[in-house]
Amino acid sequence: MADISTFPTRATILVTDPQIAPLRTFTAYAAISAGQVVTVDPGNGDNYVTAGDSDGAAPVVGVALYGAAAGAPITVCTAGCICYVANESGSDAVGEGSTLMLANVDVAGCVLAYASGAGYIVGVALEDIAANGWGRALIMPYTEVVA
């Protein structure tokens, strides 16, 4: 399994009708790309989001609707949205029905299939997510902690 080395680009992230989608505005702590999974990291300040990585100690807030520079407002697709997410693997697809968690790769903001143990859950894949590609997911963040 090979991890991707750069975050892929995509113009359209939101699938849910924007009139009903639960979207929230935050501030980008650092530059964020459209489609990256984001977290509110402890110590970064109120309502600042960063591209998430499972190495961080922060649960998932949602998926960035657009790209934003550091310090700029950023709209985030939060719990209940259906939107596109990026696979962390350059070689393995993620199957539909898979529970998705925040990936631990050099490229922040990607997802992989949850298997077991602790992790920051992003949501559920509603279709296959191709290797090095995008797929639609229902965003339902929570923190899975297994004793």
């Binding site: 699938v15 849910t16 009903i20 989608a21 639960p22 719990a79 209940g80 259906i82 199957g95 539909e96 029905g97 898979s98 529970t99 859950i121 559920v124 894949a125 509603l126 279709e127 296959d128 639609r136 229902l138 965003i139 339902m140 929570y142 899975e144 902690v145 297994v146 004793a147």
Partner: protein
Amino acid sequence: MAAISTFTTATDRILVHGDNQYTFTAAETLYAGQVVQVIPGGGDFLIYGGKLANTAVPIGIVDQNATSGDTDVTVNLYGCVCYGANADDGTAIEAGSALKVTANTSCDGTLQAWAGGATEYIIGIAVTDIAADGFGQVLICPHLSTIA
């Protein structure tokens, strides 16, 4: 206490509050008020009546009856309050209970109170009592339960 064997027909509309709905394709016959899942290997955007054996997080509660292959089947998703059905005909579920996908293999898409002590798939929280063999209101907030 006995597991119901046929899904109780809903007499009221399923959605109580919220507008977070999306359409999917029915992979099998579905009844209004059933919990549904997208299951691994089951096909893109195909929904199935929820059951423990599917080992998949439920996504919501279906808003209408459907037959296999129907497209545009509306599902009430995260944040909606809607009616769901008790899996048991002898015991009510109390308001405030976390609700898990049923282990009742004879009637998919029904609800049981989560008693803790095991990792199981939760569809949401009962916001009203759910009568035995009846319907009650559920706040949909799916997740995998956590054992402490």
